[in-house]
Amino acid sequence: MIWESFYKLLLNLGGSMKVERLINRYLDGEANPQERKEVEERLAKDQEFASLFNRFEEVEKLLQKVENNLVPEDITRRVLNSVKYQTKPRPFFIRYAPALVGSLMSFALGIFFTTSVFTTQDDNLANQNTYSTDLYSTLEIEDVINYYYDN
């Protein structure tokens, strides 16, 4: 029952959309001869159709009350001039400033990382050397002491 009424509603909606499109095509001068004949026949005998037609026709009439204005003769030239003036190519250094800043930053970051890696490696090496030097020096002292006591 519910489905039946829903289906009927859909049919009605589809039907009224079709009718609205037909009227709109007629008023827009897009209807073919057969469609024109159909509209004219229905207008003569179908009150509901005539009332719907009238609603669309009134909007159309209202829209057509306003004419397009005459366009000032030199407007295209004025628009072109103003656009050219406001979109002048920017100076070289401004145009390429973002690219330049980006490259400089990458270069600086590259230098920073490279130096920091090498510095860490050098520090490790230096630390290793320190240990070995310390070990060496410790051993040397012990050796000297042992040598001293042995003799």
Binding site: R21, E30, E60, L63, K65, I75, R78, V79, T87
Partner: protein, 169 residues
């Protein structure tokens, strides 16, 4: 679209867009200001716009820029406050001004796509086929959008004239 085509686009579209903008802003000087701002922005972005989408792109920009322009200048688009039952007694210039104000009000309330289609069909008198070629919309979509646009226009205006659109004609 390549920047080399800019001058051609300006020459092709300026008269049409000028009239379209005029329907929103009302004043010639304002229409020219909006048109210039639209083309300046377009010049920067045109390389990212497909050749077959230029027309809807420009019309949409005109619609949005016109409304922004009025908003920035705190100019409200209002419906003429009149006793429309006497409209027949008015002179033709007065009537024309009233109709312009009504259309301005109604067009500003429509979504950009619908007002574009009204402009192309009613004011530029193009066929559905020509509109389809210019905008890339299918003929079916154009038809259904025009039906919806006209129904919406009627509703917008009827709200202001006590459900009697006939009174202003």
């Amino acid at each position: 679209m390549k920047r080399d085509n800019f001058e051609r686009v300006v020459k092709d579209f300026t008269p049409k867009l000028y009239n379209y903008i005029l329907k929103f802003v009302g004043q010639r000087e304002d229409a020219e200001d909006v048109l210039q701002s639209v083309f300046i922005a377009f010049y920067d972005k045109m390389e990212g716009v497909d050749t077959d989408k230029v027309s809807p792109y420009l019309y949409r920009a005109c619609h949005n820029n016109s409304l922004d322009y009025l908003k920035k200048r705190k100019r409200e688009i209002s419906f003429p406050n009149l006793d429309f039952s006497n409209i027949a007694d008015l002179g033709s210039e007065e009537k024309e001004d009233i109709y312009k104000d009504i259309i301005k009000y109604a067009m500003a309330e429509l979504p950009a796509k619908m007002s574009l289609l009204i402009e192309l069909k009613i004011y530029q008198k193009k066929s559905y086929k020509e509109i389809s070629e210019e905008t890339g919309y299918s003929i079916k979509a154009i038809e259904s959008q025009l039906v919806r646009a006209k129904k919406k226009l009627r509703k917008i205006i009827e709200k202001r004239v006590k459900d009697d659109l006939g009174i202003i004609l």
